[in-house]
């Protein structure tokens, strides 16, 4: 059974700002809330990717989006399997809700873009998103998770997320959005 240890997640503000949400107070998360937030973050990235597949015609962007769908789906499937094994239910929380709200706003903004403008907006957001999420997983989620299986899952997932961050860096450079 997951412990309900309360933790201070100062990084929540950073995470939320990275995905476009205006407000973020310090949040206290327990293991169940951390699990919920991590799963939510993965799902939101999958939704961004589906949007990219629908809008972009750039091969590098399309390839990245397909990778996000494939990898985040695999990670979330592992999370679901762990939740089932532990017989617990992740808890929705203000940080998850802020992530969802921020991502909805981002998608609305992306919806007004096309071509190179969309590609650059998507790519730079993916890089920022993975940078901040990874910092949060490293600095907050992993050290403050009390259930060994969940901690191990987050550590394994981090390997994938860091690869995504490197991939996003390459994508952004390749698109030359700053020029």
């Amino acid at each position: 059974m997951l412990n309900a240890l309360k933790t201070t997640v100062a990084a929540a503000a950073i995470v939320v700002s990275a995905v476009g949400c205006a407000t973020a107070e310090q949040a206290k998360l327990n293991d169940l809330e951390i699990a919920h937030t991590a799963y939510t973050a993965g799902n939101l990235d999958i939704r961004y990717a589906h949007m990219a597949l629908a809008v972009s015609e750039n091969p590098a962007v399309l390839d990245f989006a397909r990778t996000m769908i494939r990898d985040h789906t695999a990670v979330n499937e592992a999370a679901v399997a762990l939740i089932g094994k532990l017989k617990v239910t992740p808890q929705d929380n203000p940080l998850s809700q802020a992530l969802v709200k921020g991502a909805a706003d981002k998608r609305a903004a992306f919806g007004k873009l096309a071509g190179r403008a969309f590609d650059c907006a998507y790519a730079t957001n993916e890089l920022a998103y993975h940078q901040v999420v990874n910092q949060t997983v490293v600095g907050t989620f992993i050290p403050q998770t009390t259930v060994p299986e969940l901690k191990h899952l987050l550590e394994d997932a981090l390997v994938t997320f860091k690869a995504h961050e490197r991939h996003a860096e390459v994508m952004v450079k390749g698109l030359k959005c700053g020029t």
């Binding site: 990670v75 592992a78 994938t160 690869a163």
Partner: protein
Amino acid sequence: MRHLTPALVRLGGILLGAALSFAPAGAVARAAETHRVTIERFAYEPAALWIRPGDTVEFVNRDLAPHTATDGEGRWDTGRLGHRASARIRFDAAGTYDYVCTFHPNMRARIRVVPQ
């Protein structure tokens, strides 16, 4: 010093030929081996592997993300390997096999199949 007669030369040639003809038989007698390549942290380990013709390589994915091991020239492919999944590929022909993960093309490695 004793000189070899034409008959001895011929006999030597026959014996040498016989010895050479038996050499491949010795090679066949070597038991094929199975080697393991672990896919972990978005990398193949070992990244370079030397094996003999007839050997098998087992690819094991320890990452949460799915991967493949796919020959760069399309000669073989493990297909999608999910978390903890594995696949075996047998290499009969000598040569160099550069391979990648089709999902994450920055993942690259090499297998060299060298005759004995």
